[in-house]
């Protein structure tokens, strides 16, 4: 069976006054039905742009330059990049087949309509049912996301709810049409740890219940380790490594993934062990380094190769890929110690 979502060679460019920013350069990955894929990366890695490119809501002046996003709806394969970004076809998929939740729930809801009205409207739009049945569904979905007293909540306005509650309402709206794929863009970043735990728990439970796939976009590796089945690590618009979650955390191959894992403080580790920090800063996207994008900060930097050659994606195992010359047999000799 074809994967639910297949992203191939996706390129998104932003044409700014200062020059062209390659927000995504050649990104490929797949999402199977019912699984959770985490896209991890720091600011500027392009993870949010990618989420938006799938739904064709890349903000101006960004443009999809190349690549396909194939969504398998029942037996039909739809290339989302070929659809008109403002057309009926993509609007039909947005919300109904693929839903998205954001870091800022306030941005999803209109401040001048009640929560109930907004969820009702989404249901009526996608399912073509009447107000009474839509309201019944709204109450049901709000109940399922653990909202206390849904009959009262539907009359509330967004600003009357706390951050955690609003996040629940947004999830309810996203799930109201039973999407096959939920894109969660940093859904817990703005929340406190205890609220984050609530929301993660909720997503975990709902995923089992609705049997949907989740594309989880985050910068937080600990959340990823607890939540994802497969992980895609991005840096400056490229996928540097992808693997199943156990492999990625236990046998990371790309120096960036390794360094990132070593630089995270963990409770229990205490003050004894010194954190391994990654030197330097994330480069300005307008001044990408030549060769490997990570080479100026890399501890395994090989002069003459890394600063010249753009590394290929190497398949290490069935599902484990890394974009690094260390694993490229073409350079094995040049890199071998001594």
């Amino acid at each position: 069976m074809a994967p639910l979502l297949k992203v191939q060679n996706l390129k998104v460019h932003f044409h700014t006054d200062e020059g062209v920013v390659e927000a995504l350069r050649d990104v490929s990955f797949e999402v199977e039905r019912g699984e959770t894929v985490a896209i991890v990366g720091e600011s500027g890695c392009g993870k949010s742009v990618m989420a938006r490119a799938i739904l064709r809501i890349v903000p101006s002046p960004g443009r999809i330059v190349e690549g396909q996003v194939t969504y398998a709806r029942d037996d039909e394969a739809i290339d989302l990049t070929a659809l008109d970004a403002k057309g009926a076809a993509i609007r039909d998929i947005r919300g109904a087949d693929i839903a998205m939740i954001f870091q800022e729930p306030m941005a999803t809801f209109s401040p001048v309509h009640t929560i109930g009205n907004q969820i009702n409207e989404a249901i009526m739009l996608h399912q073509g049912i009447d107000q009474t049945r839509a309201t019944a569904q709204t109450l049901d979905i709000l109940d399922r996301v653990g909202m206390p007293r849904p009959p009262r909540i539907i009359h509330r306005y967004p600003h009357q709810l706390s951050g955690g509650m609003l996040q629940r309402a947004m999830i309810a709206m996203a799930l109201s049409c039973r999407p096959q794929l939920l894109i969660a863009d940093e859904p817990t970043t703005a929340l406190d740890v205890t609220t984050q735990a609530q929301i993660l728990r909720l997503l975990y439970d709902l995923q089992g219940e609705f049997n949907m796939a989740i594309l989880f976009i985050t910068h937080d590796l600990s959340v990823v380790s607890q939540f994802a089945d497969r992980v895609v690590v991005m840096y400056l618009g490229e996928v540097v490594e992808s693997a199943d979650v156990i492999t990625l955390f236990e046998e990371p191959k790309h120096p960036y993934t390794k360094a990132l894992l070593d630089s995270i403080p963990q409770t229990g580790a205490g003050r004894g062990q010194r954190l391994q920090s990654i030197s330097g800063t994330i480069p300005n996207p307008l001044h990408r380094p030549r060769g490997c994008l990570f080479h100026p900060r890399c501890s395994s930097f090989r002069p003459g190769i890394c600063d010249r050659v753009e590394p290929r994606e190497i398949v290490l195992e069935a599902d484990h890929r890394a974009r690094c010359v260390l694993y490229d047999e073409r350079y094995a000799e040049a890199i071998a110690p001594g």
Binding site: D17, S277, S279, G280, T281, P283, H287, P289, P296
Partner: protein, 378 residues
């Protein structure tokens, strides 16, 4: 122990331009942004040209604006002729006037006649003038060989004074009355606004109520009342300052409000708190940290307020309540167009509205450009 600390700033291959960016001050950044706004740049050039002409009015005006040539009262504009049957003319020529009398109304009027050709020359001697009250001269940009011959490119007024020269001289007053008004607004506004915003408490309450009262009075009647209250026997200069003060009377309230609001929000900014924790004196916090953070916004806002001031001066003078003849301003020049028949017979008396329109538009564009460029850190 120390190696991890030396985290070189990854600036790799920085171009000269980028290197300059990094050390650019606020004003440089604003200027670079402003430059990208084409309409604003053109408008700025226009304004600079206008102010330059007004500053050297004596030189640019072909005649003394007060010189009465009764013989040529209400003469129509003389077009500049670059080409006629005699071929090309550069410098261009003008045709002289022929006086005629309307057979029905017996009113005297002028017509330009191709029979009388006058050659325009550059840098000719003409009426004497004084620049900035210091330099005496009689060289004009353009003129005729014979200074007694008429040269009225935009016609004359009821008394036969050259409209072009009067418009150029009028700019001196009309272009500066707004500037001084805005400057006074700025000073008053920053002073009262910062006191109100920084100290708060009852001072704030008093100033805020005062602003509300002032702003609730309809502007035009207030101005009328104030200008009516000015003594009649003021000199031209005193009158001029009187009007600027009146114009800034309302202007400062807006500035004070903005300043107060900025002060209140800046008081809670981290960098202001940081300045306190490192022992920066209160006065220095205000002028070194707080005022520079909003002064550019304020200047942009005031640039947008300038045209209103210019229009207000014009309106007041037009109504006869602002400046009064013999003071020459664009408003007083329009004084003569109050009756309809005058406009029907001598439509060129309306020409002073052109510089007003251009100035107001130009200030608006410059203001827009400044507003967009005002916060280079956004």
């Amino acid at each position: 122990m120390r190696e991890h600390r030396s985290e070189p700033i990854a600036d790799g291959a920085l171009t000269k331009v980028e290197e300059r960016q990094l050390t650019a001050s606020q004003w440089q950044l604003i200027w670079w942004r402003f430059r990208r706004h084409r309409a604003a740049m053109i408008s700025l050039a226009v304004l600079i040209l206008f102010y330059f002409i007004a500053a050297f009015a004596g030189f640019f005006a072909p005649r003394d604006p007060t010189r009465i040539d009764a013989q040529f009262a209400q003469a129509p504009p003389q077009p500049l002729v670059f080409y006629d049957e005699a071929g090309w003319h550069f410098p261009p020529i003008v045709y002289g006037y022929v006086g005629e009398r309307d057979p029905k109304t017996l009113r005297k009027f002028y017509r330009v006649s191709a029979d009388d050709r006058q050659q325009i020359r550059f840098f000719v001697k003409g009426d004497p003038y004084t620049l900035f009250g210091l330099i005496e001269s009689d060289i004009h940009l353009i003129g005729l060989d014979d200074p007694t011959q008429p040269l009225f490119l935009v016609g004359t007024d009821l008394l036969g004074r050259d409209m072009l020269s009067r418009i150029i001289y009028g700019g001196q007053i009309s272009l500066t009355v707004g500037l001084i008004g805005v400057f006074l607004s700025l000073i008053l506004g920053i002073l009262l606004g910062s006191v109100s915003g920084y100290y708060g408490g009852w001072i704030d309450v008093v100033i805020q109520r005062l602003i509300e009262v002032l702003r609730s009075i309809p502007t035009i009647p207030l101005w009328l009342t104030l200008s009516a209250a000015l003594p009649r026997d003021l000199t031209q200069l005193q009158m001029y300052f009187g009007i600027t003060v009146i114009l800034s009377f309302i202007g400062w309230t807006e500035v004070a409000r903005v300043v107060r609001g900025k002060f209140m929000s800046l008081r809670n900014e981290d960098f202001v708190l940081a300045a306190r924790t490192i022992g920066t004196p209160r006065f220095r916090i205000i002028y070194r940290h707080m005022v520079p953070s909003f002064i550019s916004h304020l200047i942009a806002a005031l640039t947008l307020a300038l045209p209103i001031m210019i229009l207000s001066e014009t309106a007041l003078s037009f109504l006869g309540l602002g400046l009064r003849p013999p003071t020459i301003s664009w408003g007083t020049l329009l004084d003569g167009t109050q009756n309809l028949t005058a406009i029907a017979i001598t439509p060129w008396l309306l020409i002073p509205v052109m510089p007003i329109i251009f100035t107001v538009l130009a200030f608006n564009f410059v203001g827009d450009g400044l507003r967009d460029a005002a916060d280079p850190y956004a």
